[in-house]
Structure formats: C-alpha cells, structure tokens
Symmetry: C2
Subunit: 343 residues, 2 copies
C-alpha cells in the first residue's frame, strides 16, 4: 500500500459517485442514511484521510493561520501561542508557528512560506519594519494582526499591553503599602517597554507629594544585571537605601533579591519591598516569593485570533487596536514594611 486512498477509491468501493462521498464529509444532511453508512464503512475500510492540499486548492485558501513570534523560548510568547492555538482550534483552524528569533531574515522567510501556503491570515510580532510586506499581503487577500505592538488603527488591527499602566500599577502598589523612597531598575530606556514602564511609575509617584523615584540603570535585563545593581545598593549607607524597588522585569528583580538577601542584614519585604514584571514561573518560587505584574497573555492570543476573524469577514474594512491592562500579583516580597505609617 504505497499511495493512500482518494475520494475516488472510496466512491468506487462504496459504489457511489465522488460527489456523494464529498457530501458525506461536508454536508451529511444531504445524504440518506443508507448511503452515508455505506460510504463511512468504505472510508473506514480503506483508511481514507482527506487530502488537505486538494481541498485547499479548490477552496483557494487554507484553514491555517500563520503566527510569527520573536522567541518561542520566551514564556510570554509561549503562552500567547498556546492561547492562539486553542482559539484557532475552536473555529476549526490550525496555527502554523514560526520563530523569527529577533531575526529579520528568518521573519521574512516565514512570511514567504506562509504566503505560499495561502494561510488565511497572519499574526505577527514583528522584528523590523514589515509594513510594506504586510500591505502587499493584504492586497493578496491575507490580512494581518499585529501582536504585542500597538498599530495605527487606520492601517492594522493589533493587540498589545499597556506598559505604562503596568508601571503605574507596580509603583502605586509600593506607595499603597507605605513605601515612599522608590527606585526603578531597568535597562536602557531606549527599549520602549522599559521606557513605558518607567513613565507609568513616575506618574504614580507624582501623585504622592512626599514620594521620590530614583532611576537605576541596569546593564541589560538579566539576573546578573540585577545582581550588579543590587550589589551597588548594598554598599550604600542604610539611610540612603530605597524602601521600595520596582524592576522592569522579573529577572532583574530576582538578581536584586539575591544581592539583598545575601547581606543577611537587609530583609525583604521588611526593609525593602521588591516588585518585578512579567510574573514568570520562577517568581513564585524565589527565596522570597516575588510580587509582579502579570500580562494577560491568554487574552492576547485569543483576541488576536478574534480580530483576525473580524478582518476576514469580507464586508469589514475597519481595524481595531485592543490594548490590555496588566494585572498586579501580590506576594511576600511586597508584604508589610517594618515601621512605617502605612496607608
């Protein structure tokens, strides 16, 4: 048995026309019970499996959706991907996943591939400036939804998260638990996410006249970078220390935590409260469980699929930019302070 059975083989085996077999598969109601049973038996006996290529060819488009992310290893995207897959499955589509790895040429290859596959649509978290390519795709009938990037609503639909709001949430939480001398730890503010989170934090601090926000630049967004900043803090005199630290992501926060706890004199959260961003798996199992800001990744993935579905409704020329607000996750690292007149 070299070649797999076709619909024609099934038709012969069941002594019906090919059209009838097709109807059994696609419009069971149009076929009489007797015939249906015969056809189904034939399908079973021959082990027939639909050839999707032929179906696609006839239909003019596939039932797959292309999804290109910056890094499948990043838990943020992993979670978005899973949600998108589930949402797509519900509407009978499958997701083709591409990992650009922050690499524009890999990204371009995937766009080529997906175009050859005639995907229904494309979800993309773009590396470079791909607007020209996306415009071309749209002309060819393949709509795009941008993921984790805010797009001009006149041009594209998009789903993104409000990093400014996230920064505000984090700083506000530190303020609400009585901290007043805050510090922000984050890499180069040329990274949009870092800049936005900082901006949100500043907004919150301005609401409290007696609160201050110090910005500590970190060399990157890693645990090591965080430990570097932490070590500098530890060398300070007790009075010059912040009492609340907000890190631009959890890795930085874990690094800072390592430095502070190693001193054996500074305690978290009694002396210094600490909050991160992203709520990675490790946050909960840190030495002191880390408070963090959780991004609604499931909602991102699900909504991206929904927006794509909207785009696919032919008589719908509009676009929508959906912006999600992240969520505060309180754990021990921002618990009660030692001796403050907390609010």
């Amino acid at each position: 048995m070299n070649r797999s059975a076709s619909i024609k083989d099934v038709a012969n085996h069941a002594s019906v026309a090919v059209g009838t077999v097709s109807n059994v598969l696609n419009y069971p109601d149009r076929v009489s019970q007797r015939t249906k049973e015969r056809v189904l038996r034939a399908i079973d006996e021959l082990g027939f499996v639909r050839n999707d290529a032929a179906r696609q060819l006839r239909a003019g488009h596939s039932r797959t959706i292309g999804l290109i992310v910056l890094d499948v290893g990043n838990p943020f995207f992993t979670s978005v991907v899973r949600a998108a897959e589930d949402a797509a499955a519900l509407q009978g589509s499958a997701v083709l996943l591409g990992d650009s790895g922050h690499n524009a040429s890999r990204e371009s290859n995937y766009i080529d591939l997906f175009q050859e596959q005639r995907v229904q649509g494309l979800l993309i978290s773009p590396v470079g400036d791909v607007t020209e390519r996306l415009d071309l795709l749209r002309e060819r009938g393949i709509p795009t939804v941008l993921v984790d990037r805010l797009a001009d609503e006149n041009k594209y639909s998009s789903v993104s998260v409000d990093d400014d709001a996230g920064g505000y949430l984090a700083a506000r939480h530190l303020l609400d638990t009585g901290r007043r001398r805050l510090a922000f730890v984050g890499g180069p503010t040329t990274i949009r996410q870092v800049a936005d989170r900082l901006q949100g934090a500043q907004r919150a601090v301005k609401e409290e006249p007696d609160a201050t926000l110090e910005v500590l630049d970190s060399a990157g967004q890693t645990v090591l970078a965080g430990r570097g900043v932490g070590n500098l803090l530890v060398e300070r005199g007790r009075g010059e220390l912040p009492d609340g630290i907000f890190c631009a992501n959890d890795l930085l926060a874990l690094g800072v935590m390592q430095s502070l706890t190693m001193t054996h004199t500074l305690r978290i959260p009694e002396d210094i409260a600490l909050i991160g961003y992203d709520d990675i798996d490790f946050a909960v199992s840190a030495v002191v469980p880390l408070s963090s800001i959780r991004q609604p990744t499931e909602a991102l993935g699900r909504t991206a699929i929904e927006l794509l579905a909207e785009e696919l409704e032919s008589n719908n020329p509009g676009h929508r930019a959906v912006i999600f607000t992240p969520e505060l996750v309180v754990r021990q690292s921002t618990g009660p302070a030692r001796s403050t007149s907390a609010g």
Copy 2:
C-alpha cells in the same frame, strides 16, 4: 485585487506557455536567458507567489515535517524544536509544530491534522501508546522518528539521551572532587528519567568503596519540592549531612540551594557540593552558579531530522536508535570542598 496571480496569469503576461513558467521556477537551466528574464519580470509585476497546495497535490506529498512535543514551554523541547527547524530548513522543508501538552487527545488531533496535510514524516515525543497509529501512518507512507524516547530498533528510529550515563557523570564528578557522603534528591522513581539518573549515580558510587549514596524522595520536581528536602536537611546535625547532593533536575537543586544558603551557616560548595540536571538558563545565574548535566538538545533535533531523511529514502527499510550522552557543566556549586583529601 482579490485573487492572487496564478502561473497561467504569468504565462499570459509574459506570452509564454505555462510549462515554461514552471521551468523557470524549477529548472532554470532549461530556459533561454531571454525567456527567463521576460518570465521573471512578469512574476515580479504580478506579484506571483507559488501556490503550495497545487504543488503539493501534484507531488503527492508536502515539503513539511510534523513535530509533536510534550510541552513547548519546556526549554528542553524549545531547544530541540529550534534545532529541528534549522536542520529541516537546510534540506528545504518546513516544520509544523504541535504541542500536545501531555494530553493524548491533543496529540491525536495533531496526528490527524498532519496526516491530512500529508506531511513527509513525523517527529514525535509521544504521550501515550501511539504505536498503532504510527504503524498505520507508516503504511500510508508517513515515517516516524521518536524523540526523547528509546524505541525498539526493529520498529522505529529514535533519538534519546542516556539518563543513566548522565546520573553517572554527576555522581562521578562529586566523587572526583572528593565528596564521599552523597545524596540523591528526586521525585517518585516511577518516572523513568528519575530512576535512570539514580541508577547511574548508584553505579558511580559503587566504584568507590568508602562512598555512600542516600536517596531523598522529593514530592515532585519543582523548586518548592527542593526547598522542602533542603529544609529537612538543614535540621540535621552537622555530622549527618551529606557532603555532595545530586538533584534529578535543576529546579530541585535551586530549591535545595535556597534552603541551604538561608541558614547562613552551611556554605556551597565548601560544606556541601550541589549539582543539578538539565542546565536550564537559571542554573548559571543562581546565587551560587549551579553545576549541571546538559542534554544535547541541538543534536537531538538535528539528528531526528537526519533519521527521518534516512527513513524517507525509499530503499531503506532499516531503523536506527541514536542515544546521546549528556555533558557535565562544572560551575561554582561543585567547587573545592573545605577540608578533604580530594583526588
């Protein structure tokens, strides 16, 4: 512009036959320079992109390879996936990725999907017993390679890692650095990986007459479980402590490390050496950088694709089971002990 250009449109636009356009795309040498240029210009002007469905239909199979993993969020699989994608790209294939999430029904859905897509072959890290399905697939001309699971060479090709050898490596390293009272920390030994790693460690310990190995059962494979075991250790009298601990994975080791370092009296590696397994990203940025056993994930992914290619060579009925040996990564957590007659 609703429908995208077909090869026929290109042929008309360039005033040549469809066969010629196809030749330009697939056998450029057969076409004269003049004609080639005209056709390429037409392709460019119309923005023609091959329809892969049509090509596939004619060819009888696609240029894609199905890959089903247990958990895309797991760094082990993420790395395997990436290597497989790269290796596949080199031979002109694309990888369709499916995440079964340890769920047999999701796994089954992906197998269905991939069969409809007529993938060239399937790489799978199976959840349940899928041998029957895989046998059927093979009858239909879709070969399978098992990933991270040792298969009977008479039935399937497979790529896997020798956990026994990994366990031996870890224990041997502790012994080589002078430790004699070893402990193994790992979840239920009903998990094959855990059992194999333990067995390898026991093999190494037997080589040293004066060495002992204590088995500490952990409730799971998480940081928290590790911390639980660590807390029990800390309560022991100094003389009853092991001087070298091998954890069945890095998460456990990080948990143990948290407990030990929090005592402020036990030092790693001076008092107790610690080694994990998997070499996750966090290992290097732990408070004390964690020694570990690294699995050759890139080689796994690459080799899986190669074995599949072998299976696809029609005149090749044999199978191969490739078993990789993991690699020791030495970091600070297994540095010199305090006062031992080290080897």
